[in-house]
């Protein structure tokens, strides 16, 4: 039986140290107030030892990732020092970036703003690499009680609804949807289960749910009530005295199938 996935999210910023640009791992709150929490490669190794099922690695500086030597080097290091699946994104602009990232060691590529600007990017990437490589990331905020897709690091509304956009993305070939509630990001108040359920009812591909995990119980809600195949979290795993192993036991006790040994 296919297991539900716990997915630590590594948010990466560029930092100039002396003459070189180095990647730093950060957490954010509602996509702002970034706090440095350490080195991404060391943290990834810890997550692997703690049986994380997959990693999402996102460049949150908005630099085009295809020409970003620091990010490509980071992906290559993560791929050589861990043996777990990597979904990589943040600054994916063109279909050629998929090639570059896969060659660097990514297994899946997440695309957000560029797909909103030109949805045919999804068709082209899915045709070349297969749907299973294409993860469409959708960030949204609730404006006047209505969820709206935001881009530009969740600063700019597109006026579109996330469900309608997700349906189009899947019709064009997206293999997974990463749905993130930007208002809840880093707050620990829990996932937006209502919209998650609406989305998982609307599409037949796996949904990765993110934004708001503060307790192990929130993961269980995402799987059971939200219908998610995977729940991703950044802040939750970075600061708390919580790790994927403990969270996993809690989730398993709630009756959700999760991987128990490596």
């Amino acid at each position: 039986m296919l297991k539900k996935r716990l997915v630590p999210k590594l948010l990466i910023k560029h930092r100039l140290l002396g003459c070189t640009v180095r990647p730093v791992l950060v957490t954010t709150r509602t996509f702002a107030d970034s706090i440095e929490v350490g080195d991404p490669v060391s943290q990834a190794k810890i997550y692997e030892a703690q049986m994380a099922d997959e990693l999402i690695v996102l460049n949150i500086d908005g630099t085009p990732i295809g020409g970003d030597a620091m990010m490509l080097d980071l992906i290559a290091r993560l791929a050589s020092e861990t043996f777990m699946p990597l979904a990589v994104g943040g600054g994916v602009r063109a279909v050629g970036d998929f090639d570059t990232l896969l060659a660097s060691g990514a297994d899946k590529v997440t695309v957000n703003q560029a797909a909103v600007a030109d949805p045919s990017l999804i068709d082209e990437a899915a045709r070349r690499y297969g749907a299973q490589v294409v993860v469409v990331s959708i960030d949204y905020r609730v404006v006047d009680d209505r969820p709206e897709v935001f881009v530009d690091h969740a600063a700019q509304s597109t006026g579109r609804g996330p469900i309608e956009w997700a349906r189009e993305a899947v019709a064009r070939g997206a293999g997974e949807i990463l749905l993130t509630n930007a208002d809840r990001d880093g707050t620990g108040q829990g996932l937006d289960i209502e919209l998650a359920r609406e989305l998982t009812d609307a599409v037949a591909v796996p949904v990765i749910l993110s934004g708001g995990c503060g307790l192990a119980a929130h993961f269980g809600e995402g799987f059971i009530d939200g219908g998610a195949e995977a729940v991703a979290a950044g802040t939750f795993f970075s600061f708390r005295d919580q790790n994927p192993i403990q969270t996993r036991s809690h989730i398993m006790n709630a009756g959700v199938p999760v991987r128990m040994e490596t």
Binding site: K3, D107, A131
Partner: protein, 211 residues
């Protein structure tokens, strides 16, 4: 044979995440070289055929290297160890139904067809960790043992003609997760991404005697 003495030829036909496979084999102590033409097969003890992308596209790219007859001699006539991974497994079938009907290499035979989606329980692509049940022993995996491996695919292998199903997985329907024809082994999952179980699997392949 110990992993440390193996010299793996990684077939490089620009259709896969070869870096991760290289890293995993390197971690196990094997020597790894990329193989782009027949001359580069020289001195290798094991071959590995990766693959990410659409079936037809990968088949065309592999044929364009001119390596197919050499792979057939290696794996079938000479019965030397070869491991196919993901689309590198699927290509061993007679045909694949992804984006049209495409001819495979037929080394193991059978068909690759789309997994049926049945939400909310069965979503396609099949992404994540799923258990594989071994029909026979392989390396230190015992017959009947179950282990979780990482899958990421929409099309699955059915009904091998020339070999056996060594491992079965289920996602809505049962499919061949591992097939075997002598020393030719192929897996739908990604052992290089499957943490400890994946390394055990690769080690079992490297443990196959080269001749």
């Amino acid at each position: 044979m110990s992993a440390a003495r193996a010299h793996v030829g990684l077939i490089d036909y620009e259709a896969g995440n070869v870096r991760s496979i290289e890293n995993a084999l390197d971690h196990l102590g094997a020597q790894v070289s990329r193989v782009r033409d027949a001359a580069e097969l020289e001195g290798k003890t094991h071959l590995l055929l990766p693959g990410v992308g659409a079936f037809g596209h990968c088949a065309d790219k592999l044929r364009a290297t001119g390596l197919v007859p050499h792979l057939e001699r290696w794996a079938i006539a000479d019965e030397r160890p070869l491991l196919g991974i993901c689309v590198g497994m699927q290509l061993l079938a007679d045909r694949g139904e992804e984006l049209g009907d495409h001819a495979g290499l037929g080394f193991v035979g059978g068909t690759v067809r789309k997994l049926a989606s049945a939400p909310p329980t069965v979503r396609v692509p099949h992404v994540g960790w799923n258990d594989v049940e071994f029909a026979a022993s392989f390396g230190d995996f015992a017959a009947g043992e179950r282990a979780d491996f990482y899958f990421d695919h929409s099309f699955a292998y059915h009904d091998p003609v020339h070999g056996e199903v060594l491992g079965t997985a289920e996602h809505g329907e049962k499919f061949a997760a591992i097939v075997r024809r002598g020393k030719l082994i192929a897996a739908q999952f990604h052992p290089e991404k499957s943490q400890r179980a994946g390394l055990r699997f690769l080690k079992a392949f490297l443990g196959i005697a080269p001749c």
